[in-house]
Chain length 457, copies 2
């Protein structure tokens, strides 16, 4: 039996863009409780107290093992791998042969010949595919997210403790040696007799740890963190709070993978089953090009230009070398105008159809949201993942704008809602388009300098 593939599925649609824009799948799902207490307090907890995030379910893990593991990763990653190995971690970015981003995620050096990719699905499949066609001495093992395999437990639990009180809690639960808290360094922690590995990173400017271990030990570790955390007022973040975290940090969770066109990527499309996430995922928002390639982003668009290192050969290197010298869009945070956002909520009380509803706290309605950023009616950038930040007390989004418009305080407009009443995505109610003013700020938005700047207004 031949498996139906993404390439087959694409043939049933007038264009890849039409397929993605009218996908029957809604936004990306975090399969945990929407809120454990109240999402506003849970969001505030990572800025003002401590929060426990359970990331055990929503990400796809890929193990890459063997003598050629690092060779493979270096072959697909734009990043430098100089000095990379056990106990090192980095944000891996991969591009297609034309230099457009397929995805990014965290790469952990578990051993010198064993690496673990953790993130959205696209890169996991891309790396597995490249391993398969490489002919090298490397194997991969996929541990897919729970949504796609709800009956199989994950191999690892993955928790994060973040916020100003995170290290107090982590030091109190730790039964092992000193914690490794230097940014993006890996270490160990022992909780309730269970040894876990850690990655130091932060949220909202405060340091914290991500930690993981065998899934079976997760409950013991979780219960102990809850027990000690309670003394420090730690809250658990539900899926609604979690959906705002990336935007406050300036991370665009999922660029549309640049895989839907081109002969060079055809093999990958023929390898991917037609029911794979990459085949059924949705694109939404007011940026609705007919050519799917208009969605494709460069590493510079996403703020990853500094990660591109020409110290090794990798897929897309020649294209990126050409791009490097050209002007790039600049990633910024957009703070949406209070009065204009209110018009969206006011529209609920006006005639039907009104403006596109903004759900709280995540206003987007597709796995890959792209809205037009306008200046005097002309397209000058793309805005992604609008969310209400209960810390910033504002609606914010991450955007890529023309570099001359990236200065803090620049006034732009966002086109909100899809054309012609909305696409056929079932989560999209009929609506009319409108524009919303926005002000440019750097990313991440949380830095004190920005706060005081905005407070002065």
């Amino acid at each position: 039996m031949t498996t139906r593939t993404l390439e087959d599925r694409l043939k049933e649609w007038p264009s890849p863009a039409a397929m993605l824009q009218n996908s029957q799948m809604g936004p990306y799902v975090f399969p945990i409780a929407p809120q454990y207490t109240n999402w506003i307090e849970e969001v505030r907890a990572w800025r003002h107290g401590a929060v426990l995030l359970n990331q055990s379910y929503h990400m796809t893990d890929l193990y890459v093992r063997g003598p050629d593991a690092l060779r493979l990763l270096s072959h697909v990653g734009v990043n430098s791998f100089a000095g990379f190995g056990r106990d090192k971690a980095k944000q891996l970015v991969c591009v297609n042969p034309d230099g457009y981003v397929i995805g990014d995620g965290i790469l952990f050096g578990l051993e010198d010949d064993e690496y673990l990719y953790v993130g959205r699905p696209p890169l996991a499949y891309w790396i597995a595919y490249q391993a398969e066609i490489s002919g090298w001495n490397v194997t991969t093992e996929l541990d897919i997210r729970s949504l796609e395999n709800p009956d199989r437990p994950r191999r690892l639990y993955r928790f994060e403790v973040q916020g100003p009180k995170a290290l107090d809690i982590l030091n109190e639960v730790n039964e092992g040696g000193p914690l490794t808290t230097r940014f993006f360094h890996m270490g160990e922690i022992t909780i309730a007799g269970c040894k876990a590995r850690t990655l130091a990173h932060g949220m909202g400017g405060a340091p914290g740890l991500e930690l993981w271990g065998p899934y079976e030990e997760g409950k013991k570790v979780y219960d102990r963190l809850i027990e000690v955390g309670a003394k420090w007022g730690m809250l658990r973040a539900g899926s609604r709070a979690y959906s705002c975290a990336a935007m406050e940090s300036g991370w665009i969770p999922s660029p549309l993978p640049a895989i839907y066109t081109g002969e060079a990527m055809k093999g990958f499309r023929q390898w991917l089953p037609a029911d794979n996430f990459l085949a059924v995922c949705s694109v939404g928002g007011s940026f609705q090009p007919e050519n799917v390639e208009d969605y494709y982003l460069t590493p510079w668009d996403l703020g990853y230009g500094r990660m591109v290192k020409f110290d090794h050969d990798f897929i897309g290197r020649p294209a990126l070398e050409r791009m490097a010298a050209q002007p790039h869009r600049t990633k910024v945070t957009l703070v949406w105008d209070r009065e204009d956002v209110l018009k969206i909520f006011d529209g609920l009380m006006g005639p039907y159809p009104g403006p596109k509803l903004m759900e709280l706290p995540a206003g987007h309605y597709a796995a890959h949201p792209y809205d037009q950023v306008l200046l005097d009616g002309a397209l000058v950038g793309l805005s992604t993942y609008p969310v209400y930040s209960a810390n910033e007390r504002a609606w914010i989004s991450l955007a890529m704008v023309r570099p001359d418009l990236a200065a803090q305080g620049t006034k732009l407009r966002i086109l909100w809602g899809e054309k012609d009443g909305g696409t056929a995505k079932p989560h999209v109610e009929r609506h009319v388009q409108m524009t919303v003013g926005a002000e440019v700020h750097p990313w991440p938005i949380h830095e004190a300098a920005r706060e005081s700047y905005r407070a002065q207004k």
Copy 2:
């Protein structure tokens, strides 16, 4: 082993009101998908097309059987039971000996000696308790809602097809005799070879049917309804859409049961386990009396005065006879002022803490929400269950107000949010109180006359 009871639990709190106001339980839960497509379109479907509601999980069923079944029901119900029996249905209302409402729900005459109560939990337990202490020839069987017994399937599936196209769909799927569509009359339907019983009632002014049968047959019936419904554009209502339905219809889903005080109700409190819904349920809103009896409502408060029939003896009759001659509060729909509602959403973008968040589409945050209704700062009524109606394009609530203030167009104010920053209910974020203007309208709000009245403004 002695079971801990509600009466025991009450002893651990300074007052019943404090226990209920600080309950750790959130709003009443409908354990179905939040939305199948988009809640706005799903709400619109019962006014403009057709909608399938799955009510198989969230209500508690109580079977009452035996020669004295009707005697028992007549003993607890304020309603007349003259001519009641097989294939009759009514909205059963029960009060305590002081005449205050314990609850209401639908009573179905399955056979002349078998009745089925379906509704929120309080009355199911009250009837079962009364059966137990009656010494009569009557038995009861409880089929509790899925939330409290997730691993046991329900005895019955229960669906509703509603909206202007509902009868088109039901006639098309029906393989049996003619449908019984007279309001609140019971009948039969055969779908996919499965015989089901029906109750005719409507939503938004259009007639539809509620139907039920053995749970095992539910999937076949559901699939066939979906198949035929698709031709008519039928949508499924998720829990978010469903949460608005009662308020559009003018039904207050759950008055706080008047059971927490008084020697006469002590036996019931000692019979109820401490983990029962009635022991752990929450009360929320700006009406925060210290005396729980201030929450208690009369049948007239809820618009059920016309159901009180002194043609039989029943618990509470003498008290209701005294009340009958006194002035009563009047049930009305409140349409919340657009500008003031916007201030709540605007507050999200102002300093923390802001006004109490209104979730869309159900703004309340407790199983029993009570907000103060004010005129010139004085308490003149109670407002319950604020929701956004995507049909009315307005925030509405149901309220009981002083009778001289019940005229359409009367301007009142609602106190929104809890005092002192909010109670200890975990779903309540810190907030400040504010008032929201509201205009009085009759119930149900959907009647065309009201619509045109509001449209003229």
